[in-house]
């Protein structure tokens, strides 16, 4: 759906950033206000890319400085890490393993998300359900992911099921808590409007519940993903013979520190792409109705 504005003389307050020719003396480039505006425009385009790169550069330099100073095989130099990276990426090795891990995370994440949305809405609307499920959340939040990983390997053996269940069990409580807060924050006035307009449940979910819960869902997705990686790696380490966790463990067994770091870096890069490339874009699109503060 595009957001074009018909030429009715009415400009949306949020979309007035395009450079406009102002036919007055203040419109010349020499005017300081225009310089300032141009500078802030450049800054707003460059900063989101430059600043994260700056941080990465600083961390890499600090690491290399440490490697030079310590002169130990435990702190490999950047070129060694680079060589390992090249090795694991050669022939699509890394992406094969990553895909396996992603599938496990995706399966667990989907289960947890579906359960958390259903339980969250039920708990937010019905006090009895809330009382009933609250202990489960509290226990779930306190059990370490490591325990779920161990138990699921024991119960389900090696395979997709065990990994998915371990992931789902470890992230569902946090997701549920997030969604529950979102449900409680749903605008009572809009619920009244939905009742006045006699919207059926399907329409209410699509037009009221889902959009209202979107910030909680996106926040929950971020939190859930970050927790899911940690658990899936543990499951792979204990019981599986493929995936990032398995590879980390074998590099560890071979005392190849550069290898461990290389796998971790590749893994973090994929996370970054998911976060900035997918989730952030999704959020930007889904939340485009929101008014952005102009100050």
């Amino acid at each position: 759906m595009s957001m074009e504005v018909s030429s009715g003389g009415l400009a949306p307050p949020g979309a007035a950033e395009a450079p406009r020719a102002v036919p007055s003396r203040a419109g010349t480039l020499s005017h300081p206000a225009n310089w300032r505006r141009a500078a802030s425009h450049v800054a707003s385009v460059v900063a989101p890319v430059a600043l994260p790169l700056l941080l990465l550069g600083l961390v890499a330099s600090a690491w290399e400085a440490m490697a030079v100073a310590l002169h130990s095989p435990l702190v490999p130099h950047l070129p060694e890490i680079g060589k390992e990276l090249a090795r694991i990426f050669r022939g699509g090795h890394f992406f094969g393993e990553m895909a396996v891990t992603l599938l496990r995370v995706g399966a667990g994440f989907t289960i947890a998300f579906a359960v958390a949305v259903a339980a969250g809405i039920a708990m937010g609307r019905q006090k009895t359900v809330a009382h009933f499920l609250e202990p489960a959340i509290i226990v779930g939040l306190t059990v370490p992911g490591l325990v779920w990983a161990l138990l699921c390997v024991i119960w389900f053996g090696i395979g997709l099921t065990g990994a998915a269940v371990a992931v789902a069990l470890s992230i569902a409580p946090a997701l549920l808590l997030n969604i529950l807060q979102g449900v409680r924050a749903v605008d009572a006035e809009l619920l009244e409007v939905a009742a006045m307009l006699r919207l059926p449940l399907r329409k209410r979910l699509a037009c009221l519940w889902l959009p209202s819960l979107m910030p909680a869902l996106l926040g929950g997705a971020r939190l859930g993903l970050s927790l899911a990686w940690k658990v899936v790696v543990l499951v792979e380490l204990f019981g599986l013979s493929s995936g990032i966790g398995y590879q980390l463990n074998s590099e560890f067994g071979a005392q190849n520190v550069a290898g461990v770091i290389a796998w971790t870096l590749g893994f973090a890069a994929v996370m970054g792409v998911l976060e900035y490339g997918v989730l952030a874009q999704l959020e930007h699109h889904l939340m485009r109705w929101r008014r952005t503060a102009q100050v």
Binding site: S6, G9, G14, A195, L199, R290
Partner: protein, 272 residues
Amino acid sequence: MDRASRGLPLLISRLDKDYAGKAGPRPVLRGIDLEVEAGAFITLIGPSGCGKSTILRLVAGLDRDYSGSIRVGEAPIRGPDLSRGMLFQEHRLFPWLTVRQNVALGAFHCGLAPAAVDALVRELLERVGLAHAADLFPSQLSGGMAQRASIARTLAGQPRLLLLDEPFSALDAFNRLALQLELERLWQRTGITMILVSHDIEEAAYLSDRIVVLEADPGRIRTVVENPLPRPRDRVSPAFNAIKARLFEALHVDTGAPFAVPTDPAPEEAIP
């Protein structure tokens, strides 16, 4: 539907309403008797907290915990219905839907074909002067535009009784006057029964056939002021001021007039 058969009559009798308080139930409305004929325009006016919004919410079917009887048309109230539309002080548009989508939602329950909904929405937006803003989000509208969109959404449900809970009180004076005028035209054109809650005496005197003055603790009807002035009404005419004066008096508001407020319009004619 022709004008005469469009509006629904409202009959409230011996209405009592309590809200749960800390120390047991608290009486909010007591012995409300109100008859509104089909197509009439009445205003409820009274101090804050006297139960005006509560009356509208009961008629709307948003709250069914009361005693006494409320009848709209033939049927008693069983929850909300599109035939009873409601407008609130806030626009209450869905912030993530465009104006067009919001208005279309107002007709969703009618089960029209998509093309018919499109046509209806376009016509309504045209009528409230928002055709150019159809694809904007509510956060991109001014207060007056948002309230217009909200009116269009309510009209999309083809209401036959409109409940208006201070819909213009958050607007600036110009928008308020313009919307009052548009509401009057809508009422004259369609014959929808209008029940307006207002704390604006001039608004009440301008729009309504009858003004019901309420008092608080518990909420009850103090008096009813008939307003037979011919339309269109002249806001600065002596007769209009006389109605306002009667409302001030009924509400026990001190107007600061040096003498008793004349109910006879004649003496004020000289004042510029």
